[in-house]
Assembly symmetry: C2
Amino acid sequence: MILLDGKQAAEAMKKDIAREVARWSREWGRKPHLAAILVGDDPASQTYVRNKENDCIQVGMDSSVYRLSESISREGLTECVRTINEDPAIDGLIVQLPLPGHLDEQQIIETIDPAKDVDGFHPVNVGRMVLGLPAFVSATPAGIVDLLQYYHIPTSGKECVIIGRSNIVGKPLANLLSRKGPGGDCTVTLCHSRTLELEKVCRRADIVVAALGQPRFLKANMVKEGAVVIDVGISRVEDKSTKSGFRLAGDVDFEEVAPRCSYITPVPGGVGPMTRLSLLKNTLQAAMKRN
Amino acid sequence: MILLDGKQAAEAMKKDIAREVARWSREWGRKPHLAAILVGDDPASQTYVRNKENDCIQVGMDSSVYRLSESISREGLTECVRTINEDPAIDGLIVQLPLPGHLDEQQIIETIDPAKDVDGFHPVNVGRMVLGLPAFVSATPAGIVDLLQYYHIPTSGKECVIIGRSNIVGKPLANLLSRKGPGGDCTVTLCHSRTLELEKVCRRADIVVAALGQPRFLKANMVKEGAVVIDVGISRVEDKSTKSGFRLAGDVDFEEVAPRCSYITPVPGGVGPMTRLSLLKNTLQAAMKRN
């Protein structure tokens, strides 16, 4: 069993990005620039945004964070998005989710200029990705494909089962892995809460992706001997043996499943770092497209 | 074995549409209006456009056809699209495909106002459909879902195998059938030219959709006893016993497969009429959204 070390892969790929960023910055006299809008003061969102800022610094990009009050109106937030859309010095824009309940996330996402939508959440980017056209692909699905490619794991003709049909992971990943070309060409089955005999369906898979958000859901009896297992989940579970009283757990029962796998991602340190990397790749790509 | 009679289903549903169209027209003092752009004089395209015009008349809608020369430039065609986009009297616009080789189809499609894109080919509509948002769904996938619903064939929890990953059928249909809600909730596997052991994969399916464009491709050994079989293909095959010297054949070997099925679509008269119906539904929907 080989561990798919997303941290190491992301670090290696960051070096390539940093080189590209340096070259681009020399050529154009400025750095690629990622802006993030952070509404309210949710601690987890603050951490995510800080991590993204640090990633930018690490590869030589500029970043800025627009901190808006929890009580901002739709119009106020839209105005902020519009200002960034029109700012020629900013290449990529993300609105950190979740937003407070009074704001319609989809409506806000659709106000982002698709050419700056480096999260790949705008319908135009989702549609272009599905149609096989150049597009910003959302970070987690793109990171998973990159991780498979980094480890030279073949996908063409492989049976892939994805558990979970979320808009940010399951659905785009199903489309991405079944596309024609390198990193695609899988025979993909998308499973969800209505799927019957899930164990049986999962056991067919050469590649299983668990992305449903239920800690330790995927058990050994759901995995074929020698399968590749990708764990997208990350939840806090109680653990009295730790100082904090909890620990992070993925959607895969790692202890049980790992011995059966050819490759498996750890949690943390698997898909997470690759997701963060994708955002950097998309931002660089956005900058390169604008010049 | 029950024949899924798309012609009869479409006629029945047309009556509902005609009633809605009449009500809408009374209320707003004009009829919903579908415009088609036809470039060149390909005989098949001319037939398709004529059929669409006749369908419109049958349900009480207006239709108009913009006939442009085979040699029209991209700018000329774009200008025509823009004029129709801005015409308040026109609700829906389709550009009949294929276009002559010197015109980039995707580029032209993206100039259509998404609110008038009743073919559902614009990336915005594809993306919104994938994300589960209100959208124009492309005609063939929408027609297939309608046909299943018309015959009260359950989809929730059913295993569905789709053969063919085209942008206009396989990919959108996979997304549509795996969506949450009525007519969806299938466990969908999307197969294509790189799929291994296709017979085995198809034999798992409660619902098989053949959409690869190879006459009589689907054989009895690829279908589980009692499955529902949807045939999207329509090709001309040589047949010396007919006056014309050819006949229409689907992607399913009907004689061989039909006895194993619970339900099967004929070709012609199965998916085809439902596809035409979808265009009317989308045009009515476009008109209703604008008022």
